[in-house]
């Protein structure tokens, strides 16, 4: 099984890197760029076959390591 985990900053958390990217896009002449928020994507290969267990494991991985839930949200997709 393959999974994709997307980690994004929570609303209200300042994202100076996203801000810098936003300015750089405007500088490149892309008009109409609003707020940019930077996040992370993890593609994970899994050997398990029980989708419910894999999903529970992936959520535990996010809570324990992949995301800092003080400032970040995560979403788990299983392909």
């Amino acid at each position: 099984m393959k999974a994709r985990i997307t980690v994004t900053l929570k609303n209200g958390v300042l994202d100076p890197q996203g801000k810098a990217i936003e300015h750089a896009l405007s500088g490149l002449g892309f008009d109409g760029v609003g707020q940019v928020r930077q996040g992370k994507v993890f593609d994970i290969e899994l050997t398990g076959t029980d989708k419910a267990k894999v999903e529970a494991d992936l959520k535990a991985m996010c809570d324990k390591l992949l995301a800092n839930t003080v400032i970040e949200n995560y979403a788990v997709e299983i392909a």
Binding site: G12, V13, L14, P16, Q17, A20, K64, L65, L66, N68, V70, I71
Partner: protein, 222 residues
Amino acid sequence: MKSAVVLLPGLNRDRDMIAALTKISGQAPATVWQTDTEIPDVDLIAIPGGFSFGDYLRCGAIAARMPVMRVVAEKAAKGVPVIGVCNGFQILVEAGLLPGALMRNASLKFVCRQVNLEIANANTMFTRHYKPGQIIRSPVAHHDGNYFADAETLARLEGEGQVVFRYADGTNPNGSINDIAGIVNDKGNVLGLMPHPENLIEAAHGGNDGRALFESALGVAA
């Protein structure tokens, strides 16, 4: 007074911390490695600065999950004083021993300079040799020192006197919320701060404003 220093791959201020603790306590600290599952009985555990695990994932995130940090958490729960400087602070928040998070500096730049710090609470085991409101100097050197906590956590930290060091005189180098430079946990025995007091402990450093922190924590007479 006995101390221990936690060593992790990628730290680079460990020798400075060991030198400071040796000079102030009169004996060399024990050193413990990331995979160690025991820490000797000591009066202070220090986690130095640097770039543990190359700052991969998030600063301090991998280090916080190493076996030695479980022992640090157990010791902290028993009341052993723990201090984390710079990357050590990042590791303590990632380990959940301190609230909040340390994010990329608002300027997006690595800052290496001297700042002024206000002693926001002189009534902690780490600051009792300072005066309330005293302004001290300290070097900072970091890329991710922008302290963040949600409104509820921040109100609790401010209300309970857990904000111990604050950037003063407009010298906030990283955009940290409420100019926070260092905090303690609710029990007051775990301190994390971004500045490097271990680099300002004797005349050869250009000042000794950081010395009283270690003297306070170790119970050494000034």
